[in-house]
């Protein structure tokens, strides 16, 4: 506690609070409270102010630029079959680590010969996840930590396969976080992770290499409907 008092004391001396009267102090407190409640309107890139179709197109363009692939699917129910043939081309069996949202679990996995494992991951060739949101500005996906959505599922895999319903594409990070706050009744999850393309590094001679410590590939399946 000594350090706390010392640091705050020094800050207040530097900021000239020593001479502030009780009334001035209250004014400052009100100012700060007001600033927190109503931050000034900051510029938001004009390129994100779009209708649904254009927003979807921007998301696809930006995601692809970040070296993710985007596959359109008419229905979420088509995902297992699509993944079955994809996994086969990679020589993988039909086992996937997955997040546990009811909507994702309910897809016809058994019919496609795919079995799902849930919970914390310790490393797997491929995992499948439902994204909380997509961000058109940057082509990012938002994953929110939750009992059914452990972050390791998104990090400890070579192939990161992600289902994103089109109506979950938001213009910006701000808009997606606002939606979380509105729909989940919480300020923020313990971890809100925005993922843009597969993991990468340019630490060797500034040459971009995909697949640093996280996924080597990111494949996004964009559905018009559900889950």
């Amino acid at each position: 506690m000594k350090a706390r008092a010392a640091i705050l004391g020094r800050l207040r001396t530097r900021l000239g609070r020593d001479t502030a009267s009780a009334a001035e102090w209250r004014i400052m407190e009100r100012e700060v409270a007001g600033r927190l409640e109503h931050p000034p309107a900051h510029p938001v890139p004009a390129r994100t102010r779009l209708g649904n179709a254009a927003r979807r197109a921007l998301f696809v363009r930006m995601a692809e630029e970040a070296k993710a692939s985007v596959t359109p699917l008419a229905r979420a129910a088509a995902l297992p079959e699509s993944l079955r043939s994809f996994l086969k081309t990679r020589g993988l069996d039909g086992a996937l680590h997955a997040t546990g949202e009811a909507g994702l679990r309910a897809l016809p996995w058994a019919a496609a010969g795919i079995s799902l494992r849930h919970g914390r991951s310790a490393g797997t060739p491929a995992s499948v996840a439902l994204a909380f949101a997509g961000i058109a500005e940057t082509g990012s996906l938002l994953f929110c930590a939750a009992p059914e959505s452990p972050m390791t599922v998104h990090l400890l895999c070579d192939l990161h396969l992600v289902l994103l319903p089109e109506n979950r594409i938001f213009a910006t990070v701000e808009a997606a976080l606002e939606d979380f706050q509105k729909t989940q009744g919480a300020c923020l999850p313990s971890a809100a992770m925005f993922v843009t393309g597969p993991s990468r590094t340019a630490d060797i001679e500034q040459q971009m290499q995909l697949g640093a410590h996280g996924p080597r590939e990111l494949h996004i399946y964009l559905t018009e409907e559900g889950p």
Binding site: A3, R4, A6, I7, L8, R10, L11, R14, L15, G16, R17, M28, E31, V32, R35, L36, P39, P40, H42, P43, P45, A46, E65, A66, R120, T138, G139, S140, A145, A146, P147, P150, M151, L155, V173, L177, C187, L188, P189, S190, A191, A192, M193, F194, V195, T196, G197, P198, S199, T201, A202, D203, I204, E205, Q206, Q209, G211, A212, H213, G214
Partner: protein
């Protein structure tokens, strides 16, 4: 780290002779500069965002006491704990205690400048705890016992052959004959080595790109995914952040974040950007069970409301390094400190004492490119000039220096005499020039100057003629 900034002149001479380093630095221009330029061009709102970012920082620093207290309240309300640390020693002791409390044997570290500033690795090692750097560049320099040479690319001074040699030497568990020629091979080997370390670490330590007072969140950016792995797998996450990282709200954070990755790597967004708020929630199966945030002062509060306050606006993007003609030929190690390039030449003397880093404010041509590319519009040249003034007040130049400046001053304040003398000198020097130019100063890689001496008219003469010709 123990700083050796006073050896800057000798260090930079060595750097200029270092072939590998010069090759590696050659990539700066093709890489970072070009990518930043393109990213900025794609965002028409860039400069407007800069105005807002500067205002946000000014407001945050003016109310730092309030926002730090609010941040602490929010972290505590979410089940985390805030630790205030006056200096590096307090921060090191706090981290060690937190590690010992959970009987930690192994710590995974995400790249962090502040962790370098407090030299936590050596301290943990001396106390029987193994610190593993997980960012590839940071891991390479840890193996080589070197400090980082760049904020964003700690191993930017190395060529891949050097990294391959280091890996062969330090990874005896791999067959000698393996192929390590390509960057891909090196990345894969590091990935392979690091995976079990992430899974077995007891504690993860990271820095913070931003702190959000409103929500008690820590914002972290990475491309490799190592920061999120360092945080999500161990049972304890320790964040070390200096106090000036705070912004009031999420909305404010996003303004700075839009500038940060574009200025740093030219990316629209980094591969991973996480807002971390407290330890894992009930029934969550990963994420840390304990969430600690160290708020470190270490000299920042002394800069508040002073002539150097603007350096506290720095968001550590590295753009000033990437565009600095001095950094571009000396690299980072010549600065002999954690923070390098223009921002380091300002911050190091302020944090470590001017007497320990006297040559750094001189390590600038004052060309101003650093200011031009700084997303936070920090007047780096002005700050460096203020440091030079301080330096001169402490230790005025020798008699010879003052004498020469006196002569220059005499002529500079008498323009007609100055121009006459310049004309005379140019004509006298003409016979000594080679290829119409005279070299002055050392010639090694980019240093020294070449003055044109063709015996022709001076600039002023040409200008007068031109103006005369324009008149009817």
């Amino acid at each position: 780290m123990k700083i050796t900034s006073n050896a800057f002149r000798a260090n930079s001479r060595g750097a200029l002779q270092d072939r590998n380093l010069q090759d590696a630095l050659g990539n700066l221009k093709r890489g970072f500069q070009e990518k930043r330029r393109k990213a900025k061009a794609r965002l028409p709102e860039f400069e407007e965002l800069q105005d807002h970012a500067v205002a946000i920082k000014e407001h945050s620093l003016d109310h730092l006491d309030f926002y730090l207290e609010r941040f602490e309240e929010e972290v505590t309300a979410r089940g985390g704990k805030v630790h205030w640390c006056r200096d590096g020693a307090e921060a090191r002791a706090t981290i060690l205690k937190l590690c010992k409390d959970v009987n930690a044997k192994r710590v995974v570290k995400a790249k962090s400048m502040i962790a370098e500033e407090i030299a936590i690795n050596d301290y943990l090692e001396a106390n029987g705890i193994e610190p593993c750097e997980t960012d590839l560049g940071e891991y390479i320099i840890q193996l080589r016992h070197e400090p980082p040479s760049h904020i964003i690319g700690p191993a930017i001074h190395l060529k891949r052959e050097q990294v391959a040699d280091t890996f062969r030497e330090q990874h005896p568990e791999f067959p000698d004959a393996r192929k390590l020629d390509a960057a891909r091979d090196l990345v894969d080997e590091a990935r392979h080595i690091m995976r079990p370390r992430f899974l077995s670490a007891d504690v993860g330590i990271s820095g913070a790109n931003l702190l959000v007072a409103e929500t008690g969140s820590v914002v972290l950016l990475s491309n490799e995914g190592n920061i999120d792995l360092s945080r999500a797998l161990p049972k304890t996450h320790i964040v070390v952040a200096s106090i000036e990282k705070i912004v009031p709200t999420l909305s404010d954070a996003n303004v700075i974040l839009r500038l940060l990755s574009r200025s740093a790597t030219g990316q629209e967004a980094p591969a991973y950007m996480s807002f971390l708020t407290g330890p894992r929630g009930a029934d969550e199966t990963d994420g840390p069970e304990a969430f600690h945030v160290l708020l470190l002062d270490n000299g920042r509060s002394d800069l508040l409301k002073g002539e150097f306050e603007r350096i506290l606006h720095c968001i550590r993007c590295g753009a000033c390094l990437n565009h600095c003609p001095v950094y571009g030929v000396t690299g980072g190690h010549a600065y002999g400190a954690v923070y390098t390039g223009p921002m380091g030449a300002v911050l190091t003397p302020l944090l470590e004492g001017l007497e320990h880093a006297a040559p750094l404010p001189e390590a600038s041509t004052f060309c101003g490119r650093c200011e031009e590319v700084c997303p936070m519009r920090i007047p780096l040249v002005g700050l460096l000039r203020n440091l030079r003034v301080r330096l001169l007040k402490k230790k005025p130049g020798g008699l010879a220096t003052r004498g020469r400046l006196g002569v220059w001053l005499f002529f500079a304040t008498r323009p007609s005499l100055y121009h006459g003398l310049a004309r005379l000198l140019l004509r006298l020097a003409a016979p000594f020039g080679r290829g119409g130019a005279l070299s002055v100063g050392p010639r090694a890689g980019g240093w020294g100057r070449r003055f044109p001496v063709q015996g022709g008219p001076t600039f002023q003469e040409m200008w007068r003629q031109r103006e005369k010709a324009k008149r009817p």
